[in-house]
């Protein structure tokens, strides 16, 4: 090819082109996700009711994710106790281990780790399922059967994830704190009464509910992003694979990014 513009391009131009393309694609994605959000909001209360699908999705997002979230939370609490104990030993503040574990788990680690685990488990399965439906024309079939695919497929997933993630986090918080207690009291020899007292002493109700609000937002974002990537999948099995990867990466990143902004806004 003798396109003069193509020959003249040097590294800097090509790099900024590549960057520009990426940013452009990201902005397009964000716009589409926001549009999807408005469609979900506007159709959530319209009949027919999707309650049956919502319950089914709550089972999928909630109960099926419970084991992995609980294991993650328990070990996070345990390692947190271990680390802060050895750190606090240096300045003789080991009695504060209980407070540190309780505050870190409820404010940050419970919601964020639950969000990340759900991104991986549920985000992937949503993107793969919707992507497969897209490439096999099942979504087109829904439309011809007088059904709005956003209402039938996306609304139940978004509603279920938004409602269920806080519930998961309640259990994650609990087991994280129990894990920290177990390590401190039974392995590091802390006094159980002091530990429990310190856990309660600095823990406020606000620490817990802000964590639950965060979890709710994470759930909504994960479901929206994953459904979006499933909906735009094209090109057979390979396309579905790509959509799944994108959904997991984008929703995990979004969990961490939105976490920062919510934290700075809440405290």
């Amino acid at each position: 090819m003798t396109d003069p513009a193509a020959e003249k391009k040097n590294g800097v131009v090509r790099l900024s082109e590549l960057l520009g393309e990426r940013v452009y694609a990201m902005v397009i994605d964000l716009g589409a996700i926001f549009t999807l959000f408005t469609q979900v909001v506007s159709s959530v209360l319209r009949p027919p009711s999707e309650i049956r699908n919502i319950v089914k999705q709550m089972e999928e997002v909630g109960i099926r994710s419970m084991p992995v979230v609980l294991v993650t939370a328990t070990f996070t609490g345990m390692v947190l106790a271990l680390q802060s104990y050895s750190g606090f030993q240096r300045f003789g503040a080991t009695s504060f281990v209980g407070s540190v574990v309780a505050l870190s788990i409820t404010r940050e680690l419970g919601p964020v780790f639950a969000g990340l685990m759900v991104s991986g488990r549920v985000g992937a399965s949503m993107a793969a399922e919707l992507g497969t439906m897209k490439v096999t024309e099942q979504i087109d079939a829904l439309v011809t059967l007088a059904t709005n695919p956003v209402k039938y497929l996306v609304v139940p997933r978004v509603v279920a994830a938004t409602l269920v993630l806080p519930v998961l986090v309640v259990f994650a918080d609990l087991l994280g704190i129990v894990g920290g207690y177990f390590v401190s009291v039974h392995l590091l020899g802390a006094n159980p009464y002091v530990y429990i007292a310190k856990t309660y002493q600095y823990l406020e109700f606000k620490d817990i509910y802000t964590g639950l609000v965060k979890a709710s937002v994470f759930g909504m974002l994960i479901a929206l992003i994953s459904c979006h990537h499933g909906f735009v999948a094209e090109g057979g099995a390979e396309g579905v694979g790509r959509a799944t990867t994108r959904a997991v990466v984008a929703s995990s990143m979004m969990v961490l990014i939105s976490d920062y902004f919510m934290t700075s806004f809440m405290f």
Binding site: P48, T132, M133, T136, E137, Q138, D140, A141, V143, T144, L145, A146, T147, N148
Partner: protein, 258 residues
């Protein structure tokens, strides 16, 4: 009656439909033939409102569906049934739930009658006692028939067939052809079929229209199409490798390999 005027649709720089005109008479089956990738699927996806064309009008009994908003479209779509190329059965549901989907969605029958209605629809496509099977357990021909039962479940008056015989063995293809003919005769639906299977086209068509380069270049009865004087149509229906359709690419090949 469906009347399509000046329909245009492009994807990026690629012009797929370029001012297409087509009239589909009521109660008749119009078969649109054309090579792969010439925009046949785009045409019927525009007709049912799955794709928005760039220009033109699609009149369903005088109502232009292109200018409709989403809510009106939903109402008009209830008159449509569509059989997809890969049947597009919902693979998370069994056969009975697939066929009953639109009945439950639109609450057309009370729940206790649904099983019976579904069995009746399935018998119309020559199937019975398979309501409990999952789509993954069905053969290609059975999937198509279940897809057809699902498409006719809400008693539409317009049926769209996207390559109904593609990927089936000749006998199963003929079974589907017979079904399409008998559905037209028994329930009097208006239908558009897109296909490149000429045996099927001759058998099921009242009219055949040839789509080439984004336009309908000839419409006629099967007999007229078979004996056409248009060299492009003749090459396609006779399935010859050499002729005006392939000439351009042949020249290109010759030019490149020189």
């Amino acid at each position: 009656m469906i009347a399509i005027h000046g329909l245009s649709k492009s994807f990026g720089k690629k012009v797929v439909l370029d001012g297409l005109d087509l009239t589909v008479p009521k109660g008749k089956n119009t078969v649109v033939i054309g090579g792969s990738g010439t925009g046949k699927s785009v045409l019927i996806k525009c007709a049912v409102g799955l794709l928005r064309p760039d220009a033109g009008e699609i009149l369903i009994d005088g109502q232009d569906i292109i200018r409709m908003d989403e809510r009106e479209l939903v109402r008009v779509r209830r008159r449509f049934g569509m059989l997809f190329q890969g049947a597009a059965l919902f693979d998370s549901m069994d056969v009975g739930e697939n066929v009953a989907f639109v009945l439950r969605r639109l609450k057309m029958y009370p729940e206790r009658q649904i099983r019976e209605v579904v069995e009746e629809k399935l018998s119309m496509v020559g199937l019975r006692d398979i309501q409990r099977l999952m789509p993954a357990e069905l053969s290609g021909g059975m999937k198509k028939r279940v897809g057809l039962a699902r498409a006719i479940a809400s008693e539409p008056d317009i049926l769209l067939y996207d390559e109904p015989t593609t990927g089936l063995d000749p006998i199963m293809a003929d079974v589907i052809n017979d079904l399409i003919v008998s559905l037209r005769e028994t329930i009097g639906v208006t239908s558009i079929t897109i296909t490149h299977d000429m045996a099927s086209a001759y058998k099921i068509a009242d009219h055949i229209a040839m789509l080439y380069k984004g336009k309908i270049i000839e419409v006629g009865t099967p007999e007229e199409i078979r004996t056409t004087s248009n060299p492009v149509v003749a090459q396609f229906v006779q399935g010859r490798a050499h002729g005006p359709i392939t000439e351009e690419s042949e020249e290109f090949v010759r030019f490149v390999s020189r």
